[in-house]
Subunit: 350 residues, 2 copies
């Protein structure tokens, strides 16, 4: 039997913590074959009875008591200064210490990113980490990054995101040779900002062993025109949230169509017996809940702050897939190629 994968969990992060976290961890255990162990960081007095609620959960859980937690509204710089020993800090530190394979938190995103950078440090060759999202597409998922860590980026950072995202997609979504595009407002090379045009030129000149396809547009994300879509954290975050809002709007219309008349109600009742459940699952934003921080010496997964147990369980699934995959070694080999390239460019420039 293989050794259990250890998930280090900030049990106090998120609007409905610690209940949603513990219930989500229990939900995730059901029917799972791969052996898992949880390290819960948080207030022991609160966690113990919640864990005891679920049969079998305490067998795979270890509580690491903490006295403090990071406020959901704390600024990142403040969080780094004040959060030593908090549940979030300790959850990330367990990865650094080699006690856990991956850390998961539904707490304050900015604080989690800042803490992760301080504790785990950036990988060699990476200037800024990015948050990556797996985006529903007709036959699987698209990989989109950055969706929130960097409001402004340089062309070479966008190339780094491409390198990180390509490795992520191969490791997590199993595509041997993912295609990569840069998000723009038109396919013509002359559109878009200078930063994006420079990034496009860099990608073409770089000689990376990557299937780069040039510019893609917003509608290409859901169509998975390329497997990986690279953008700055502002645009990526707006796109992600816009897609969530649109899916919710359309879902509301579907529901309305099935309740607005007798025919609709009858049809809705029939659909509930089968196909509608698949549809509901696909449209459930909780089924894609988990942004992964890329570019650090370790894996950190961010769950939505407002998540419930089902959503948190999805984040745990993503964390487990990453821990169990060749993700970190894929990233390493991609980054080696990038740093060789940077060295060459510097040689040429000197």
């Amino acid at each position: 039997m293989t050794a259990p994968l250890v998930l280090s969990i900030d049990a106090m992060g998120g609007d409905d913590a610690p209940r949603a976290v513990i219930d989500g961890a229990a939900h995730f255990l059901k029917g799972r074959k791969r052996a898992v162990k949880y390290l819960f960081h948080g207030d022991e007095a609160q966690l113990k009875p919640l864990i005891a609620n679920h049969a079998g959960l305490s067998d795979v859980s270890e509580i690491r008591h903490t006295e403090s937690e990071v406020d959901m509204s704390a600024k990142p710089s403040e969080a780094v200064r004040r959060s030593r020993g908090s549940s979030m800090w300790n959850a990330v530190h367990a990865v650094k210490d080699g006690e856990a394979h991956v850390a998961v938190s539904a707490g304050n995103t900015g604080a989690l990113m800042a803490i992760s950078k301080v504790i785990l440090r950036m990988k060699k060759g990476v200037h800024r980490p990015a948050i990556v999202a797996s985006w529903p597409a007709p036959n699987g998922y698209s990989t989109v990054l950055d969706v929130g860590a960097n409001v402004e980026v340089t062309p070479s950072q966008l190339v780094e995101f491409a390198v990180l995202g390509e490795a992520f997609h191969r490791a997590v979504h199993g595509e041997a040779k993912p295609t990569v595009g840069i998000l723009n407002v038109g396919q013509e090379e002359l559109k878009g900002s200078q930063t994006i045009r420079d990034a496009d030129a860099l990608m073409r000149e770089a000689g990376l062993d990557m299937d780069y396809r040039g510019f893609v547009e917003g509608n290409d994300i859901s169509m998975a025109t390329t497997h990986v879509v690279v953008t700055d954290g502002f645009t990526g975050n707006v796109a992600l949230k816009t897609a969530e809002g649109t899916a919710r709007l359309v879902g509301g219309w579907v529901k309305e169509a099935m309740t607005s008349s007798i025919l609709g109600k009858l049809a809705g009742a029939l659909l509930t017996l089968g196909p509608l459940n698949t549809l509901k699952d696909k449209m459930d934003p909780r089924s894609v809940n988990g942004g992964v921080f890329l570019g650090l010496n370790g894996v950190v997964v961010k769950s939505h702050g407002g998540t419930d147990a089902v959503g948190f369980a999805t984040s745990l699934r993503i964390a487990l897939e990453l821990a169990d995959s060749r993700f970190l070694s894929e990233i390493e080999s991609n980054l080696e190629r990038l740093s060789e390239l940077n060295a060459k460019t510097e040689d040429a420039a000197s």
Copy 2:
């Protein structure tokens, strides 16, 4: 009887022009009460038989023969230099000459914007025009701008967009006092780029008679958290196309649910008898086809390049609503307030 509203139409613009344009114009006439007249600019030999296909269309149509048209891939600067006398140029010029109330084209966006700027000129107080989109929301529409004209913006341009968008929403969507938000990645004032934070401060200091609500996020657009959402043309274009892609993806899932099993098929058959049609209409991207150029001395509506007749008819409806509304006078009075404010700021600075 009121005088007919005159729509000046670039009959040669768009992938399926002139057929989609003429068929769309005919489609739009059906069941219309308001008297309309068309000025079609294009190749008379092609247009005449197409118009003759539709009973009654020639009675309200006048063909203005042109020898040339703007290429769909022409660069804006090139288009301005070479397009005098083209169908697009003449369509816009008819508005300038007072012959038509509004111009409509499904041609090259960049060229149409450049030509419109040269012919119609910017309104006093406006530095750059914006393209505005009406976005489906639970109870009507949100107004989003800019969705493609300006890749980069200054804080004061964003304030201008707010002024233009608020007037547009009141005139076209009939809201007496529209609420306005700036698109960002978080509601906290400390998030987002410097440009956006400065625009937020300007909006608050401006003393405009406007119901400004601060920052909104991507998911707020479809929820219509504010009536008007202001952003740069890059982010707005990505958001619009992402929403289109998401709606198409979800639509595909709904279709799949209704064809994947016998129960689903039965439910689908029932829904086709009624509620599904309403849903289809709501999800049809053709039902919101028409970006309006704001900030010019005249109204220009841009239809999707790949539009069919139904989509083109929607653009004509939007054009007609604008021509028939208090839109231009609303914009005037909003801009007066803005220029008073700018004058005050300059006085204070000197």
